[in-house]
Each structure stands twice: as C-alpha cells, then as structure tokens.
C-alpha cells in the first residue's frame, strides 16, 4: 500500500487515463485544475473528491523534481498520503502539438458560432474551446 511505501511528507501522485497510467511518482504538493478553480493538495490534506476541469497539474518537489502535465475532464481523489487523478485526457507538455491545438480551437469556435439554439452543442463547443485554450497555454510555457 502507498501508505507504507511513502516517506512522510511526500504525496504519492498518480495520473491515470483510460489508455494508460501516465505518471506514478511522489511530490511535496500538487496543484490541480478542479472544476471550480485551481487547488493545491499537500501531504496530510483532508480526503476530498472533486471533478476536474481542463488545465495544468503541477507537481512540486518530489523525487523527479517539478513537473507539469496537461489534463482535461475527469476527477481527483485526494487522500492524506495520496493523490489520484483520473483524467479523460492527460499529456506531458512535450506531447502537445501546438498546431493541432490551434486547429482544435478554430474548429471549436466554428462549432460554437454554429450551435444555434442547441444547448448541448453549445455546451460541448464551449468545453472544447476551454480544452484547446488550456492546451495552447500549457504548450507555451513548457
């Protein structure tokens, strides 16, 4: 179990997507893009379940130094010694293709303007725009 293997003061952090386990490491603190805004989890945090928005996960300290990851949609479980992020999409910043992200943004904006009175399409396009914008931002400051 993580509780035994983790040295005190270090959080076990894991980012899991439907395809793979992207990261399995330790860190002092984790910044998370929750749906309601960014939050930071430190060692010994109170147990929490939150839905994820789109944005960057930042790991501070830890065995492999600081690291950043782009995630979108999913949710996170914070336990005192462990943070598990279940994300629909998760990428290392180096894996982001900026031109593809720009294209995604352009497509999403087009969908948004053509959504008409369809609330679902509108919502979907808005979500896509947010993902694309966050992706571009993540690619910029890598």
């Amino acid at each position: 179990m993580a509780e035994e293997t983790t040295t005190s003061g270090q959080l076990a952090v894991r980012i899991v997507t439907p395809d793979r386990v992207l990261v399995d490491t330790t860190a002092d603190g984790v910044e998370l893009p929750a749906l309601s805004g960014y939050m930071e989890a430190l060692y010994g945090a109170a147990p929490l379940l939150a839905e994820l928005g789109a944005g960057e996960v930042k790991l501070h300290g830890g065995s492999s130094g600081d690291a950043k990851f782009f995630v979108a949609w999913g949710f996170v479980e914070v336990l005192p010694q462990r943070v598990t992020i279940l994300a629909e999409t998760a990428m290392k910043p180096s894996e982001i293709d900026p031109s593809q992200a720009q294209q995604q943004l352009a497509d999403a904006e087009k969908d948004w303007s053509q959504a008409g009175d369809d609330a679902e399409k509108y919502e979907y396009a808005r979500a896509e725009i947010r993902v694309a914008e966050e992706k571009i931002a993540a690619a910029k400051d890598r």
Binding site: V21, L35, S36, M39, L49, A50, G116
Partner: protein, 374 residues
C-alpha cells in the same frame, strides 16, 4: 498423372502461401501482444471509476425519498420497446471463426428478442419490440446491412423568428422493426478514447431522450489466448455498478483451445491470464478509503457527471477486448493454415518423388526390354 514439372510448380506455390500465412501469424502475434497491453493499461481507470461511483452510491443520497425513485436517467429501467444492439466484429477476415461467431451470436440474440415478444400468459399483449443494430467493423456491417434495411432520417431545418433562429432536427422514419442505424467502424481503426467517448455520448443521449430503452453490446471477450467467448453485455440501464450483466453466447471448444494454445506457444505468448499489476491492485482500493470525503461538488452532481463516463469506459473496454480476441483468433487461424500448408507440401513432395521414380523405372524397363529384343 501429373508430371514432375507441374508438381514442382505446385509445391513452390504452396511454399509461398506458407510464407505468407507464417508472416501473418507473426504480425498478429505482435499485434496481440500490443492489444493485450492496452487492455491491461485500461484496467486501472475502469476499476477506479467503478469504485468511486460505488462509494458515491453508498454515501450520497442518490435515491429519492423512499429509495424507489432513482435520480439518474441511466439507472431507470423502462419497458424494453426499443432495443439497441451494438455488434463488435473485425474489419478483416482471415481470423478463423471470429467474425462469423459474433455475427451468429448477434443474430441469435436479435431473433431471441423478437421471439420473446410473442404473447404469453402474464403478458397477453406485448407491444412491438423494435431493434436497432449498430455495427463496429466492416464484417459486422456487411453482414447486417445485407439482412436489414438502413434507418432513414429526415433532416429538418426550419427558420423561425423571421429567420433569426434555426430549428434543426433529424426525424427518424421507421419502416421495419429491425433496422441498421449506424456503422461505427471508425472506432476500430483508431481505437482511442476520444472517439469512443463521442460514440458513447450519442448512445447515452438517445437513451436519455427515450428513443431507446436498453442497450446491449455483443462482442468477443478476451480472458487469455485460450479463453475467449462471445458475450452479450447489458450496457444500459445500469443495474449494478462495477459488475455488468453478461450472458455467454458462444464458447471455445476444447479443440479450438488446443489449437490456440499451440499457436501461442510457438509465437511465445503466455496462455495464462495476465496477472493483475500492482497498480491494478491498488486501483481496487481507490475511492474506498474509510473516510468521509469532502465533496468539491455535491455528490449528486459528481455522480451525474461520472455515470456517462462509466458507460463509455464500458464500451471502450469491449472494443479493446474484441480487438485482442481478433488478433488471437487470427494468430490461431494462421498457425493452422501454416501447418496445413506444410502437410500439403509433404504430400506433394512424396507424389513428385513417386512420379519421378516411376518415370525412371519406365525408362529402364524400356532400355532393358529393348536390349533383350535384339
């Protein structure tokens, strides 16, 4: 009697065929390994998601007042008037009975559904049960498109508010009780979660709108190289989280298992079920910690957002398993084809040698009898 030259040609051609089947077998073995790995890597996520949903169900007040009304539409059971069947097969042949088995099983399922609606004593006047078929993979599409008509939609685009707004709607005109609605073969070609998610959402949308009352998937379940079976899984409505309702339609025979085992041993693939990784074991405890969580969103909201994801994960899982099964089936089939080719080469070589020997003997007899005559 064939002459030596003809036999030589035939042997050469069979040898070529054997080369090809051997190569195909090795390719499928490599693809199988990759598919197995993907299926393994997808497990932690699915497990964690199911766990969180279960713990949400336990903790949160998801059921209305007296525990009868369910809060989420995906949990509501309705009378099954319109059924959606998602059939997952492969794009290519040369995979033994893989595609045929899925097709047969799906057909039996559809026929069984229709037969069930005959009047019974408890239910003297059952309504018509309509079945929509969605296919994944070219083989499934070809099979069902030939049998059943395609669904027709009418695209309506009305302007109102003096042309300021549009009303766009696709209206379905059902002509036959069983129709093929969509072909989702694109899912197989890429097999990434984003595509599956889109397909999943379209199914969920239709379910929530009440266009369909239940959803089933027919696919090849992959346990290991020697344990595969065609199953029907009930996708919607969700009865019990984390343990889907599965009915087995077709299992491998002992003979098939033996053949598959042989092929796997030659290709160096383990026939055992892949053991659970440490991550997977830990995934089982995810979200089940015996603590009171702080919920960033109300548990009901979380639940509502997570449930569709659970359904998509289920479809994704079925696709991954089916693709692993397909590769395993192809590997076995190609192994059998290679060994058949070898047998054929042996028997042809034997015949060729006999023919050659016979020709020589005949010549000697001619010479000897010619010499004796002088």
């Amino acid at each position: 009697m064939a002459n030596v030259l003809d036999l030589k040609r035939r042997i050469r051609s069979v040898k070529n065929t054997r080369q090809i089947t051997k190569a195909m077998k090795m390719v499928s073995a490599a693809k199988l390994r990759r598919a197995q790995e993907r299926a393994m890597q997808a497990r932690p996520y699915a497990q964690m998601l199911a766990n969180v949903l279960q713990s949400l169900v336990r903790r949160a007040d998801l059921y209305g007042g007296d525990g009868v009304d369910v809060m989420h539409p995906l949990l509501v059971e309705r009378e099954e008037k319109n059924v959606l069947v998602l059939v997952i097969a492969g794009d290519k042949g040369f995979a033994g009975a893989f595609n045929a088995n899925v097709g047969k099983a799906a057909q039996r399922f559809v026929d069984g559904r229709r037969a069930k609606r005959q009047p019974t004593e408890e239910n003297p006047s059952p309504g018509e049960q309509n079945i929509d078929i969605e296919t994944v993979g070219r083989k499934a599409r070809d099979l069902f498109k030939r049998k059943y008509p395609e669904a027709q939609w009418e695209h309506i685009d009305q302007e109102y508010d003096n042309g300021l707004a549009h009303h766009i709607e696709d209206v379905r005109h059902r002509k036959a009780p069983i129709e093929v609605t969509y072909d989702r073969s694109v899912l197989l070609a890429k097999l990434n979660f984003v595509e599956v998610d889109k397909a999943g959402h379209s199914i969920i949308d239709r379910y929530e709108r009440g266009e369909i009352d239940s959803v089933y998937i027919v696919y090849n379940e992959f346990k290991s190289v020697i344990a595969q079976r065609v199953v029907v899984e009930k996708l919607l409505p969700i009865r019990k989280l984390g343990s889907p309702e599965v009915t087995v339609l077709e299992e491998m025979t002992e003979e098939q298992k033996e053949a598959a085992g042989r092929a796997a041993a030659e290709a160096g693939i383990s026939v055992n079920e892949t053991p659970a990784s440490a991550q997977e074991k830990e995934a089982k405890t995810f979200g089940t910690a015996d603590v009171d969580y702080i919920y960033d969103q109300p548990p009901q909201t979380l639940f509502r957002h997570l449930l569709p994801r659970y359904v998509t994960t289920q479809i994704y899982h079925a696709l991954l398993e089916s693709s692993a099964s397909e590769q395993a089936a192809r590997m076995t089939a190609m192994d059998a084809a290679s060994s058949n080719a070898s047998d054929m080469i042996d028997s042809l070589t034997l015949t060729m040698n006999r023919v050659r020997q016979a020709a020589i003997t005949k010549e000697i007899i001619e010479i000897v009898s010619g010499a004796a005559a002088i």
